[in-house]
């Protein structure tokens, strides 16, 4: 197996290309810029196209065009740029266009800073743009997963005709780890509904407009049914040392890597603690969560935001057990010691 040492931001591009993606449209922003750099380097060399768009608004609309035309297409940005893309993501969702958007989250609101945060959770996981839609959200926590989810995202996008996000933080984008690259996929799936400038596709229409309220309601119901199937079939989560765990730490992205170390440390001290890492943020891993809530005394969610993931967990747990939050913001990262001490404090309380 080919192992290469590289950055998360580069791995996601190589993964995407191995998954048959041949178009990248984006606007640079730290800490996501290496994605644009890698795409600019490799798209043309692999028979693809790369455009540095005039804005994120333009970029997502180029994505809309490429997806309409049947390409596997990628774009990437960070908070401020994702805000700008939201209009286009809503159109993609409405027109049921598969595409992949990478969000390497930085500190906000406003210009914030370029340090890692997880404060885009709400604007990504809750749809973000206007209308009744959701998007699949994958949350990698390693460079290997940046590659793997770069591939998986395209499969899910095509399978469900939906935009898929790869949502992670500046750390996972910036760090380097060894990656095993798989072989490229044989061929991207045939899509009969796209426009290709051919006779067979000249009756095809890509649109999100439905003037008649009944038609639009039907369209929305169809979307909701699709989301229900996704919720049923695509939940993914990693459990770490949860077997006999009385305390469950929950976090995604870089936080889950820190939590893993915290769990090991606490286990050495004899504390029965485990970790749940949501891999899909939509669909939310409700199955693992409800299962773990049956045996756990409490959950502690650790986030680099004002507590956005924790809201969803509390909705699922409905007060059955306490769900606590430990969070940092502004680009500060919760340390192993901080989390360790928080667990000890909560144990004394409960």
């Amino acid at each position: 197996m080919a192992k290469q040492f590289l950055k998360g931001n580069e791995a996601v591009v190589k993964g995407a290309i191995l998954a048959g993606c041949r178009a990248y449209y984006g606007y640079p922003i730290t800490p996501a810029s290496e994605i644009a750099h890698a795409a600019a380097m490799y798209m043309p060399l692999t028979g693809g196209t790369f455009v540095q768009a005039e804005s994120e608004v333009a970029a997502i609309n180029m994505v809309y065009g490429a997806a309409s035309a049947g390409e596997r297409v990628l774009t990437a940005s960070s908070g401020p740029g994702i805000s700008l893309k939201q209009e286009g993501v809503s159109y993609c969702a409405g027109s049921e266009l598969p595409c992949v958007i990478v969000d390497i989250v930085r500190g906000g609101p406003g210009l914030g800073n370029i340090a890692p945060e997880q404060s885009d959770y709400n604007q990504v996981v809750k749809g973000g743009g206007h209308g009744n839609y959701k998007v699949i959200v994958l949350a990698p926590n390693s460079v290997q997963e940046m590659c793997d989810f770069g591939m998986l995202a395209f499969d899910l996008a095509d399978k469900y005709r939906t935009p898929v996000y790869v949502l992670t933080d500046g750390f996972i984008g910036q760090m380097m780890e060894p990656v095993e690259f798989p072989e490229p996929i044989e061929k991207i799936p045939e899509k009969s509904w796209v426009v290709k400038g051919t006779d067979e596709t000249s009756d095809n229409l890509i649109t999100s407009i439905e003037l008649d309220p009944d038609d639009l309601e039907r369209h929305n119901q169809k979307l909701q049914q699709k989301y229900a199937i996704i919720e049923e079939q695509e939940q993914r989560a990693e459990e770490y040392r949860t077997d006999d765990a009385e305390i469950i730490l929950i976090g995604y992205g870089i936080v889950s890597r820190i939590l893993q170390t915290v769990v090991d440390k606490l286990r050495e001290e004899g504390v029965k603690v485990g970790m749940l890492r949501p891999i899909t943020l939509f669909p939310f891993p409700t199955k693992s969560m409800t299962k773990l809530a049956k045996s756990a005394k409490f959950f502690l969610t650790v986030e680099m935001s004002n507590g956005q993931l924790v809201d969803d967990i509390r909705l699922i747990i409905e007060g059955k057990i306490p769900v606590y939050l430990y969070n940092r913001m502004g680009g500060n990262v919760p340390s192993i010691k901080e989390i360790h001490d928080e667990v000890m404090k909560l144990m004394r309380l409960s």
């Binding site: 040492f5 800490p31 500046g170």
Partner: protein, 476 residues
């Protein structure tokens, strides 16, 4: 006019997509310029035999439902974004004929950036820009092209220069750009001007079909309903008033000398993809690394110095070499809050076990290449840890007495080797020798694969050997 109003093959016979009972007429008001322009376009697509190849982009505005009528591939898009969408489509299917059809609100207000940049890139598309000096769809608000003094719902006392500025002349602006091949403003006014518009539409499409040229056709057109005029009166107004402010004519035409733009993409076989992506297999020499198989290793290394001292690459080289010893490894650059304090630094974790947090708060090994780094990180090192510092640059000794300390004049030795920049590899050599972290042979052999600048491999190999030698002499 009859000939051009005949239903063409590029229109559907029956407008099935149109809701309601009437499936035969368009949604456009009598006298509206959109209907006429649609016909001119459809007729040209027929005549050039490109209906099947055509992908028509409907904007937001009165022509939002152009897809009711055109029997072509159809894509309906967000307000103002048609040229960006067209970019994505044309690049996916260079053989197709892509039409971006837009109103004046769509193109000259909300979509100004998209049209400017698609034009500036010279995308191989045809833009039809319907300038009716008003927002039709939303009920007659002011457009960027509304004339001075013209009353609209949002300029009820007439547009003033003071408050709204001047009507914007898009064709003239687009014509200043280098990439557009053909830019003309025409009108749908009387029969003569419409017949001329017909020729212009054909020329523009032909230039896309034959040469992938970017062309931009502005069409002055009437909106009788919002102007509250009869169709004939509104056409008169277009001719006499609108065309007076927006001069008709060719604004740019370099179609003669323009050479066909090649939009084809490279063809790369799947079997060539790993090479094209520069995916290399890091060689692992299992025999040579055998002595390290049982080694228990759990290092958390902080490497810090000035930018330019090669601290980041010191970290990546160590990491690459660790990977070649089948160790788990992660590398994290100083980033975000870590960047405070004027030092560049990176964190490397090397372990036999899967690595949790890649962050290093309490290093087992600190490599300090300058004084601020030693000052900043000395007290974070775990008790029993190791501090390696460059004593040719750092003028004080570490104060800790519970850690191992190696003072190595890395910069001085590097200067002796003829390149200050090799100081980081001297430290690599020293570290792996001191800690017996890995096989020096493997490190030396792999250096060529790991370093980007191949002309520096030999120098850096020497540096690694010198670093190791320094430690051997210490141990003696």
């Amino acid at each position: 006019m009859n000939t051009i109003l005949k239903k063409s093959d590029s229109f559907y016979d029956v407008y099935e997509r149109r809701p309601g009972a009437d499936k035969l007429t368009t949604t456009y008001c009598p006298g509206c310029g959109h209907g006429v322009l649609h016909k001119l376009i459809a007729e040209a697509l027929d005549d050039f035999g490109v209906r099947e190849k055509t992908i028509f982009i409907s904007p937001v505005g009165c022509s939002v439902f152009a897809y009711y009528y055109f029997h072509t591939g159809n894509v309906q898009v967000a307000h103002g974004r048609a040229p960006a969408v067209a970019t994505g489509i044309k690049r996916a299917h260079p053989h197709s004929v892509v039409i971006s059809y837009q109103g004046d609100g769509d193109l000259a207000a909300i979509g100004t950036a998209e049209i400017m940049h698609a034009a500036n890139r010279g995308e191989g598309i045809t833009v039809f820009f319907v300038n009716n000096a008003i927002y039709g769809m939303t009920g007659g608000q002011m457009a960027p092209t509304t004339l001075i003094g013209q009353k609209t719902m949002t300029s009820p006392r007439g547009r003033t220069v003071n408050n709204e500025g001047f009507p914007i002349c898009m064709s003239e602006i687009i014509a200043t750009l280098k990439a557009p091949v053909f830019v003309e403003r025409v009108m749908i006014g009387d029969t003569k001007s419409t017949m001329h518009a017909r020729q212009t539409v054909r020329k523009a499409l032909k230039l896309q079909i034959e040469k992938n040229a970017f062309t931009f056709i502005e069409v002055l057109a009437a909106c009788p309903s919002n102007m509250k005029m009869t169709p004939s009166r509104s056409r008169q107004w277009v001719k006499e008033v609108l065309a007076d402010y927006f001069p008709l004519g060719v604004k740019k035409d370099v179609s003669g000398e323009f050479e066909r733009k090649d939009l084809s993409r490279m063809v790369v076989k799947n079997s060539e993809l790993h090479d094209a992506l520069n995916i290399e297999t890091a060689k692992v020499d299992s025999e040579k690394i055998a002595p390290y198989r049982e080694k228990i290793i759990n290092e958390e290394i902080k490497i810090a110095g000035f930018g330019g001292q090669g601290v980041l690459s010191l970290g990546t080289v160590l990491s690459e070499m660790s990977m070649r010893h089948n160790y788990e490894v992660s590398w994290l650059p100083s980033y975000g809050p870590e960047m405070r304090g004027g030092t560049a630094n990176c964190s490397v974790k090397i372990s036999k076990k899967k690595i949790g947090s890649p962050l290093v708060a309490n290093p087992t090994i600190l490599i300090a290449m300058n004084r601020p780094s030693l000052d900043k990180f000395e007290h974070d090192v775990i008790s029993g840890g190791l501090i390696i510092y460059d004593d040719s640059l750092i003028d004080r000794k570490p104060t800790r007495d519970d850690v191992d300390v190696i003072a190595i004049p890395a910069t001085k030795i590097a200067d002796e080797l003829g390149n200050t920049k090799a100081a980081n590899m001297i430290i690599v050599g020293a570290l792996i020798e001191y800690k017996n972290l890995m096989s020096q042979e493997v490190v030396l052999e792999s250096l060529g694969d790991v370093l980007k600048r191949k002309n520096l491999v030999e120098l850096n190999q020497k540096a690694i050997l010198r670093g190791a030698e320094f430690i051997k002499n210490l141990k003696k």
